[in-house]
Symmetry: C2
Subunit: 149 residues, 2 copies
DNA sequence: CTAGGTGCAAAAGGTTTGCGGTTAA
DNA sequence: TTAACCGCAAACCTTTTGCACCTAG
């Protein structure tokens, strides 16, 4: 099986499991997310998708992103900004938001984030714990940006 | 000093420190945030503010919320939904998002969230770590909502 | 064949901006 | 006195929706 057909087969299976059809647009959008994992906004996905598929529409990009989130191939990332961003890294990780350049970085975790039972009021039982960090990133332009604040 | 004038004095000082003026609208908006700490959206703040100040405008509510965030009296909370929410609890705490009723709960932390140096790539130095949890809240309508999913 | 997906255009949130008048300091 | 702030309305940006056509299964 070629690399390309394996990509398609895996995407197809995940989509089908959640009752979604496999379409060229969904493959294209998923491909965009996987190829450059920089947490693009829907608009950025739209622009990149048009490179391979000039007639794709914004509404379809939203539809595709929604389907990918629902079938477990992508996650929404909620930044401070208004537009939602998308992440195709489904491994356990957390996000580092650069307060200077606004980029979002994936940070792998060596241990799962834990929330001691003792800290939780009775009957709060989280399914999921997200850790987000804010600070400057190592890019020299940001790391040395102190003066301009 | 009465309770009311102490509230005003503290607000005034925080605003002044960041170069903002003390206005009746800002007092009103801050009062709304402090009185009911349920993480309202800008629109909800607008509605509640109008109870005491019927002529306040939406643009002013945004301006006031922005000033309060900038002078350290409130924080933005980024939910999954589109509208930003606001939190006047400035103590270290984390947020629990009920996946059923969408309410946001403050959870106090007994120890600070920590991120072992070892987990961070070189030169990432977070100023702030946010922990968010998702799951059902203890409200009976949510806690027993499994069937309808 | 047909339910689900697509493209388009219009509408619906949510937030920001420009401007003339008002006000805190 | 005057820079900052207010209210209003229009603009802007992001996301959703309605509809006629198309296509995967």
């Amino acid at each position: 099986m070629t690399e390309k057909s394996r990509f398609d087969a895996e995407l197809n299976e995940k989509l089908a499991t959640s009752g979604f059809r496999f379409t060229a647009q969904r493959r294209n959008v998923y491909n965009v997310l996987v190829n450059k994992r920089d947490h693009p906004t829907a608009e950025e996905v739209f622009i990149r998708s048009k490179a391979d598929m000039p007639d794709i529409s914004m509404a379809t990009v939203y539809n595709c992103l929604d389907a990918l989130v629902k079938c477990g191939l992508a996650k929404q990332v909620n930044h401070d900004s208004t537009a939602k961003r998308f992440c195709s890294n489904m491994q356990e990780h957390c996000h580092y938001y650069c307060t200077d350049c606004n980029r979002v970085f994936d940070i792998d975790l060596k241990e799962s984030p834990r929330m001691p039972e003792a800290d939780l009021p009775e009957n709060f039982k989280p399914d999921q714990i997200d850790v987000a960090m804010r600070g400057r990133c190592p890019d020299p332009a940001c790391a040395t940006a102190g003066a301009k604040d």
